[in-house]
């Protein structure tokens, strides 16, 4: 019994230990290797790190629910891009011309709605056809990306609204707007997963779908809601990011699904479903961002980041399996 309680704790702890390790490593190595005089643990640098974690982090929270459910969503990068295009394009639509700056909340709502609708499409197909979520979202990853390109060809969609940029660049209590969004999303999803029936059901379905059905949980609608949540979060991530940058390329968000899944798996969520935590995912997101920033800080090529992250992902998978095998052996004896 104790092993069962301890293992998740060790796993959530492990990713945070890794985060601390990275901080120490890059601080020390930075002393010798960095070209700049600034220490790695500089307050501004850390605040920037949190801000840069937001786009991946916000989506990763949704992916955690999806993966605890035993599903996966490969289309988040495409949803991110389409929501961004809608956000920036809708600001210059003629029907909103008279709104002035009130166009901002309208465009935000439209972008978020896009995300929810695309998520609902994924969820509905998974529910009604019974096709595996991997295939469904693999397909919609192509399809949604196609919609992005059909919208505006290969041209970037741009719209700079200074009120919006000021809002996105603002710092409240020291933290950037994007960081606040990440914090809020983390808090809300954490609450949902640990304190509500919906969260409990998510774990139950991921653990044993048959048993969940027998216990009277309506699996289909539950999964569809989760796909709508991740669609919403992918759009929210786009809203936060592009409010500041003001220009989106049709290829933006490509490979986001890989970064997000890497973060979630690093955070200890099982691909098979039934296990995982939001706090762990937050650790995974920070670990990846630290690695990206840290490698740059010590003067490594940005190219090595991909190499290192890929290998770390595999190493974590290996360690995780060893831990699990050990746990099982302990239970047997």
């Amino acid at each position: 019994m104790q092993a069962g309680k301890m293992t998740p704790f060790i796993k959530t702890g492990a990713i945070w230990a890794f985060v601390v390790l990275e901080l120490i490593f890059f601080s020390v190595a930075g002393e010798f290797l960095s070209l700049s005089d600034k220490p790695f643990m500089d307050l501004d640098n850390m605040l920037l790190l949190l801000k840069q974690s937001a786009p991946i982090g916000i989506i990763a929270m949704g992916m955690t629910i999806i993966m605890i459910n035993g599903n996966i969503d490969l289309s988040v990068g495409a949803i991110f891009a389409l929501a961004a295009v809608i956000l920036l394009d809708s600001m210059s639509w003629a029907i909103f011309a008279g709104l002035g700056d009130w166009v901002i909340p309208v465009s935000w709502a439209l972008a978020l709605l896009t995300g929810v609708v695309l998520g609902a499409v994924n969820g509905l197909i998974v529910w009604k056809t019974g096709v595996d979520a991997f295939i469904v979202t693999l397909g919609s990853m192509l399809g949604f990306r196609g919609l992005v390109f059909m919208y505006n060809g290969e041209n970037p969609t741009s719209e700079l609204n200074w009120t919006l940029v000021d809002f996105a660049e603002a710092q409240f209590l020291g933290l950037h707007t994007a960081t606040w969004f990440l914090a809020a999303v983390t808090l809300v999803i954490w609450y949902v997963m640990t304190r509500t029936v919906h969260g409990r059901n998510a774990y139950a379905i991921g653990n044993n779908r048959e048993a969940a059905v027998n216990a009277g949980i309506r699996v289909g609608p539950h999964m569809m809601i989760n796909f709508m949540i991740i669609g919403f979060l992918a759009a929210l991530s786009a809203v936060v990011f592009y409010s500041e940058s003001g220009s989106v390329n049709p290829n933006d968000g490509q490979l986001y699904e890989l970064w997000v899944i890497t973060a979630v798996v690093l955070g200890g969520t099982k691909l098979t479903g039934g296990a995982g935590s939001i706090i762990g995912t937050l650790g995974g997101v920070l670990a990846i961002q630290l690695l990206r920033k840290g490698l740059g800080h010590i003067g490594a090529d940005t190219e090595t980041v991909n190499l290192v992250i890929g290998l770390i992902l595999i190493a974590v998978l290996f360690l995780d399996r060893q831990l699990n095998l050990k746990g099982k052996e302990e239970l047997k004896t």
């Binding site: 529910w127 019974g130 096709v131 295939i135 397909g139 990853m141 991909n306 190499l307 890929g310």
Partner: protein, 324 residues
């Protein structure tokens, strides 16, 4: 002869649905544009599908053995860049085997992780997608790779040459398809691949070395990727670092379209070739009738979902899922 019941007809429709839909596509496109079925166009489509097709052949083995390979795209970039780089350094005759050896090493590494260490293939190959991409960029320093003397080399024969009036990429694709088709359908190894993917535990109990079979599947996939990289490099004689990016998903789409189940244990080389051709012809057909290039993504999406849906609907005997 027994008469067909309504249910049987339904099953046949669902099983062969993809071929029937394909036939309708062809007829529709031909009516819309007479050039669609001209020999030139057909040859062009197969030729441009060859790279994707060669990769799909290897991935078919991996998928039948019950695993996934998402790393083929970045692995193809790697082999393309490596062979182009070595071409100028040690000459094409040595560059090709060296590139094959390096790519096979990557395949062996993945095969070791998935086969012998029994790690989840989705995550391993996802990690390798990123890792190999990093490796390629480190190797090339992020720069594009070009052959210095493009006119004075015989290296372009694999991508641009013709033999007996047929482009070499097509010949390579078909030859490889025939070879791998025979290996998969007619040899003990092929049967082992099906057994491991169909029911791994049962296969192990009947004395099949599961780890080794999976390992060999990844090795074959890497070999196919190296061949695809060779064709790509030879065709363009220069390349970006990201030439194969995203191809892993198109390859997987072709394999799934051919009817291989992601759960493993089913699929054939012939069906994969059909899947590759369907993707190629639809892409070409949509362009010929004057639609935007990007419409094909949306159409591919719909076709993949429909194909898989019909397949599992036929298996469960019901159109809609049993999910409450």
């Amino acid at each position: 002869m027994a008469t067909l019941s309504k249910q049987d007809i339904g099953k046949i429709l669902a099983r062969q649905g993809i071929l029937i839909a394909f036939a309708f596509f062809i007829i529709g496109f031909t009516l819309a544009n007479g050039r669609f079925l001209s020999p030139d166009n057909v040859m062009g489509v197969i030729r441009s599908s060859a790279i994707l097709g060669v990769m799909a052949l290897g991935v078919t083995f991996v998928v039948i053995s019950g695993n996934l390979d998402l790393s083929v795209g970045s692995m193809m970039s790697f082999s393309t860049i490596v062979v182009l780089d070595l071409h100028d350094k040690i000459g094409p005759a040595l560059a090709i085997p060296a590139m094959f050896a390096m790519t096979l090493c990557l395949g062996a590494f993945i095969g070791f992780l998935v086969g012998y260490l029994k790690l989840n293939s989705l995550i391993v190959t996802l990690g390798m997608l990123s890792a190999i991409h990093g490796l390629t960029l480190t190797y090339s320093g992020g720069k594009n790779m070009d052959i210095a003397d493009k006119d004075g080399t015989w290296f372009d024969v694999f991508g641009q040459g013709t033999a007996l009036g047929i482009p070499v990429p097509i010949l390579m694709f078909l030859a490889l398809a025939a070879l791998l088709g025979i290996i998969l359908a007619k040899t003990p190894f092929g049967r082992k691949v099906y057994a491991v993917g169909g029911n791994g535990t049962a296969a192990t109990f009947s004395g099949i070395k599961r780890a080794r079979t999976v390992f060999l599947c990844y090795l074959m996939s890497a070999g196919c990727v190296a061949t695809a990289g060779l064709i790509q490099a030879s065709r363009s004689l220069g390349s970006q670092n990201t030439v194969g990016q995203g191809l892993e998903l198109e390859v997987l789409a072709a394999v799934i379209l051919g009817g291989a189940s992601l759960l493993g244990g089913s699929g054939t080389i012939f069906k994969t070739v059909i899947g590759v051709l369907i993707l190629g012809f639809i892409q070409n057909g949509l362009l010929l009738v004057g639609l935007q290039f990007y419409v094909q993504f949306v159409v591919t999406w719909i076709i993949i979902i429909l194909a898989v849906w019909l397949d599992i609907a036929a298996k469960r005997g019901k159109l809609w899922s049993n999910i409450a």
